[in-house]
Symmetry: C2
């Protein structure tokens, strides 16, 4: 009993922390509840119920399935669901009409077409573009086609049914998008933007901490580097969703979300360099005083470049003069370091970390050149 | 018109290549078609139809939504769907019964409980454990609860409806699992296993090619390293699904799938080292003859260690004597290299790549020690 209570309190504390860290998650839960409550009003009020009939069920279903955390996610699912339902419904009605003409072969034709379409549609999900943008639509396509084609054999007024279903789905979608956009919207584009700037900040901090101090505080640095290295999947998912979002705030129509992926790749390359640098640091015990200072300068300037790049991304300005100054500063430091290295090539181990720093500069250059594009 | 034709042929070639590279993907499409065709038989045969009635629709829906590429994925969705439907249905019936006692307040109580439950359930999806294992179940829980609670206000014989729905979902699940397991099953555990060994092989090849030759064939090496670095997401997803699979082949009950994640992390650390090493290589133009030979030896032996580790994982044997021999070999080479470096610390740039190689050894050690556990 004590164990169970301890477990409960531990879980409760964890859940509380998730909610406290990001209150928007709690708000998201409330938004889903609100959307569902609004839909159920359709069911309870007589005149509305008589309008759409028992098919109001489909509106509820749509809201539950379509509501996502980000606006982009909701739009993606709504669009897919609407288009897939409509196209599959029309196709099924067509096939059904043709099959009806053949008389007794009807079930065979319907089952055969279902088999072929389902197989083809399922296979199409392995195509990367389809997977990224229309995965959910394919599921709904198969679902609607099989429901309409199969139930068509029994239900007579098929067209009326299909029309009713589309109407209720439209109600669900409108309600869902309305709540998602009006009540504290979470934009995937903004999330992606924030993730990118946060990662840049992390890299800059890691660079500073790994070269300016040599205390034992490597733990958080390493974990933040790992975090940057592993952010590819969430970055890609958000860029995919952000594409579906309407223009909002500073994110105009056709915002170059693909550029974020490039910046992300450059950052990961940079992170992998810093990671290797950290690993070297743990092996080298002492560094020669002179090289160490030069190293620290390069690292500090590289961090400055990163911070400047971050500021550029944050404010979405392409006035990169400050950035160029910072890069030039860093280059000077790198050249000084190289000169130092040539003149005092005594401690071999140290030079490994300095040559790594020069490599660090490269991804920063790449990032800088990409930023000019944004 | 010509442009459209070129585009079509390009897409067709791409699709053909996806199918030719992995015929199991085509088989998966056919399996989904087969399962759907089997379900639709329920609809067409009179006696079966009379048994389950119009609710046969739910069986179709279940098959479409639940069928996944791997057996683990299907089991995960089936389990979640069954448990969530049953629990939400029971809860909704209970709330409905209580609300019925209060008379005219019924709609308010139902809508209120729907709001609260949906908000709580949606928020619970942000908890990592729930997200990884029961994400789909939560969706189904909300869906079922809202359908039963809301439609309960209109439909009288609610219990019969719920029972019928459960029966058809059970039919769908059984059919789906049967087809998934019997016809060319794709096990997530095996996929994970294959991914791990393939990544090890890639690392070994990259190590060999980056140090034994210095031609211009860095392109494929870099891309394969990137591939290893980015495999975290798919690895995690498959480990999650593999946990749901029944024992099969050489994968017994409670196969340590968590170990794969550790091996994967060690491999990614190793890959990040090799990546930095490759970057250094492009900067250093020439290497001193002696150090270069020593470097090549270390790299070759490290590759041997990796290959040996791969063989161990592949055959799932814990007899790590050969692996220990290979590690010892590599250590000797590393020590020789260090001695060389101390005696001839003339070319500073070269030593950076050699000190990196020593770091390469570390993750290999980690991997080796983890492999003993498997």
């Amino acid at each position: 009993c004590m164990g169970a209570r301890a477990w409960t309190s531990r879980v409760a504390r964890k859940v509380w922390r998730i909610g406290a860290d990001d209150p928007r998650k709690v708000v998201h839960g409330l938004k889903v509840g609100l959307a569902l409550a609004l839909v159920s009003v359709f069911y309870y009020t007589r005149p509305l119920y008589d309008g759409v009939g028992g098919a109001a069920m489909w509106a509820i279903m749509t809201v539950v399935v379509v509501f996502e955390y980000t606006v982009g996610g909701s739009v993606y699912k709504c669009f897919n669901r609407a288009v897939a339902t409509a196209s599959a419904g029309l196709l099924a009605l067509g096939v059904h009409w043709v099959a009806g003409k053949t008389g007794e072969f009807e079930p065979y034709i319907l089952t055969g077409s279902l088999f072929l379409l389902a197989a083809a549609a399922t296979f199409s999900r392995f195509i990367p573009t389809v997977k990224a943008r229309f995965d959910y639509g394919v599921t709904i396509f198969i679902l609607t086609y099989s429901l309409v084609a199969v139930s068509g054999y029994r239900v007579d007024e098929l067209a009326a049914l299909a029309q009713q279903r589309l109407a209720t789905i439209a109600i669900g979608i409108l309600l869902c998008l309305g709540v998602a956009v009006v009540v504290c919207p979470v934009w995937a584009g903004q999330e992606l933007h924030r993730l990118t700037t946060r990662n840049m900040e992390k890299l800059a901090k890691a660079l500073e901490s790994c070269c300016c101090r040599d205390e034992e505080d490597q733990g958080p640095t390493t974990s933040s580097i790992r975090c940057v290295l592993n952010s590819k999947a969430s970055e890609e998912a958000q860029a995919n969703l952000a594409r579906w979002e309407p223009p909002h705030g500073r994110f105009g129509f056709r915002h170059p979300f693909a550029e974020y992926a490039k910046v992300g790749a450059a950052m990961r390359a940079c992170a992998s360099c810093i990671d290797a640098l950290l690993a070297t640091r743990t092996h080298t015990d002492k560094q020669s005083g002179l090289l160490r200072d030069a190293c620290a300068t390069v690292a500090a300037r590289a961090a400055l470049v990163l911070r400047e790049a971050k500021r550029c991304v944050e404010t979405m300005t392409a006035s990169t003069r400050l950035l160029e100054f910072a890069v030039a500063d860093m280059n000077t430091a790198v050249h000084e370091l190289q000169a130092d290295m040539r003149s005092l090539a005594e401690e071999t181990m140290t030079s490994s970390s300095s040559s790594l720093l020069i490599m660090d500069a490269m991804p920063a250059f790449t990032a800088a050149s990409l930023l000019v594009e944004i």
